[in-house]
């Protein structure tokens, strides 16, 4: 147990010295504390037969059983079995009671046995598996994908966080922003779904922050969403997304610029985001003539109405944008550095402090989970006692008659 931890510690220290690759420190990601906690040792075969019998009799399986199963995984094949039992649990009457620590333990076990793609798969199909991780677990996932420079998968994790709307921790926000800007740097052409996901994630992370990166992300997010709104209609923007259904996303982008211009202090907006907004405001009138003949007449009058009003407002937006841009320029609030460098800077400055906080919070959470687990086990024991007593009483009654 000690040797692999030391090795991991040494490796990541050297990586941190190299500078780029690791984002989170070793203390955050290392799983020694998690592995050291008291675990009950059960045989997986026993638990599996117990669960199968309970499902056959249509009785609910307790959340303790599934958590014990996941804790006691010891090989890659057993991970697949655990996946099956997670699916069954989700489709049982107790699906609401899948515990946080079970989900955390599942992700940790996936990482331990090298099945990160399986973890990602269960996360993407969270409806079928019930995998809704908390912020700490999301951070670990993101860190792994950042370390392996797999920005596509990291982007899908960020989309999942966005769909769950859990950008509450500062560390999660920083990591997600880093991933988003790296992903934007790698690819230049996106499908409209990717643009929509990017826009929503940028927006939701940006809304939580009040610095240059935050406001620029908000602007960038609104711009992407405005582009999708113009090309595909408002419904495409808000359907199955945590976004508002009122039209006018480009208008909101301009309002962000306005609010930054009127805010005191050192907050600026990056030129990158402003350039993107400018290109969209200027380029879309060319595309306007194309979608009309190819659009299916499925009778979506409201949608085409909102599109038309948006497109007709474009020249108005353009003039407003030019005014606001000149205002920002005169107030010297235009940042010329790229967003990626700004984000990396911010990450380097703020992340260590956040990490310490997060680790403390996580340890507290571990204690709470242990307490809850102890309570549940006590309750289970009491229920078993009662069931035994009742059985004995029934036997006595039968024997006496």
């Amino acid at each position: 147990m000690a040797a692999p931890v030391l090795r991991a510690g040494v490796v990541s220290v050297s990586r941190a010295a190299a500078g780029r690759r690791s984002i989170l420190s070793a203390a955050y990601v290392d799983s020694s504390k998690w592995d050291e906690r008291e675990k009950e040792v059960h045989s997986l075969a026993e638990l599996a037969t117990l669960m199968d019998r309970t499902y056959e009799r249509n009785l609910p399986v307790s959340s303790l059983t599934i958590s014990r199963f996941i804790d006691n995984i010891s090989s890659r094949e057993e991970l697949d079995q655990a996946e099956y039992y997670l699916y069954k649990f989700r489709h049982s009457p107790n699906c609401w009671y899948l515990r946080d620590w079970t989900i955390h333990s599942w992700i940790r076990q996936c990482f331990k046995y090298g099945a990160q793609d399986k973890a990602l798969y269960t996360l993407k199909n969270k409806v079928q598996y019930g995998v809704f991780p908390d912020n700490f677990t999301f951070n670990i996932l993101l860190d792994y994908f950042i370390k392996s420079e797999n920005y596509e998968d990291a982007m899908s994790v960020v989309s999942e966080i966005m769909l769950q709307e859990s950008f509450d921790d500062f560390s999660t926000q920083l990591l997600s922003l880093y991933v988003l800007y790296q992903y934007l740097a790698t690819k230049s052409e996106f499908t409209w779904e990717e643009e929509r996901n990017l826009g929503a994630s940028l927006l939701l992370t940006g809304l939580k922050q009040t610095n240059t990166v935050g406001f620029s992300s908000q602007l960038y997010g609104y711009t992407f969403l405005g582009k999708v709104e113009l090309n595909k209609g408002l419904r495409a923007v808000y359907h199955q997304m945590p976004l508002m259904w009122t039209p006018g996303y480009l208008n909101r982008a301009l309002q962000v610029m306005d609010s930054v211009a009127s805010l005191p202090g050192d907050v600026k907006i990056c030129k990158e985001a402003i350039d993107v907004l400018e290109t969209i405001l200027q380029s879309v009138p060319e595309v306007k003539t194309d979608p009309e003949p190819s659009e299916e007449v499925e009778g979506k009058p409201k949608q085409t109405e909102s599109e038309e009003t948006e497109q007709s407002k474009l020249p108005v937006y353009l003039t407003q944008f030019k005014n606001l841009y000149s205002k920002l320029h005169s107030l010297d609030k235009v940042e010329s550095e790229s967003l990626l460098t700004l984000t990396t800077q911010l990450v380097k400055e703020k992340l260590p402090a956040c990490e310490v906080e997060d680790i403390a919070k996580h340890e507290q959470k571990l204690k709470e989970w242990e307490q809850e687990q102890a309570l549940l086990m006590e309750r289970e024991k009491e229920m078993r006692k009662k069931a035994k007593q009742e059985q004995e009483a029934r036997k006595l009654a039968k024997a006496s008659t």
Binding site: R90, H91, P93, C95, W96, E165, S166, L207, M244, K300
Partner: protein, 175 residues
């Protein structure tokens, strides 16, 4: 457009909505803890009323036999046209393709509502002929009451059968 289990067709007016919107649990199954504590609205309310109408979800019971866990029952606090009711009620019309979830960052803005004070009118003047009859009756009886006769809208008047039978016939014309 047909229901998935029985295969029966949905009513015509619902076809458009079934394509565009989603059922409540189709939204809830994608959230942690099935969207407890979240605010949900109906598109029909959005189109019909200016004031905010929404449900705040407090309890969820999912139908675990559904493949995508997108059916079930839910309970919560209703706020209809700005007025919040303090009782936990079962959410009605859960299976309608009509629901939208309010994003967390927009919840405050959505719930904002300044109630317009409603004037309750209690006294209303009588119609002219009836007013003339009342004044004429007062004059006959000799009451020198110059107060305008007014109908009290809050008063509950119950007429029994005997009231009309016992009314004596007045002398002369009513007015």
């Amino acid at each position: 457009m047909a229901r998935p289990f029985t295969g029966k067709r949905l009513p015509v007016l619902a076809w458009e909505d079934a394509r565009r919107e989603s059922r409540l649990f189709a939204l809830l199954c994608q959230r942690p803890l099935f969207g407890l504590g979240r605010v949900v609205t109906r598109k029909a309310w959005l189109w019909q009323y200016e004031e905010p109408c929404y449900w705040l979800i407090t309890r969820v019971r999912v139908d675990y036999t559904a493949e995508n866990l997108d059916h079930g029952k839910a309970w919560g606090y209703l706020t209809f046209r700005g007025k919040t009711y303090n009782e936990v009620k079962e959410i009605d019309k859960v299976m309608y393709h009509d629901w939208r979830m309010v994003p967390k960052h927009e919840e405050e803005c959505f719930k904002k509502f300044t109630p317009v004070s409603v004037e309750i009118i209690q006294y209303v003047p009588y119609p002219p002929l009836l007013r003339a009859m009342i004044l004429a009756q007062r004059q006959k009886e000799g009451k020198l009451d110059t107060q305008e006769p007014l109908i009290d809208l809050e008063k509950i008047i119950i007429f029994t059968n005997d009231y009309f039978k016992n009314q004596k016939k007045a002398k002369g014309t009513p007015v």
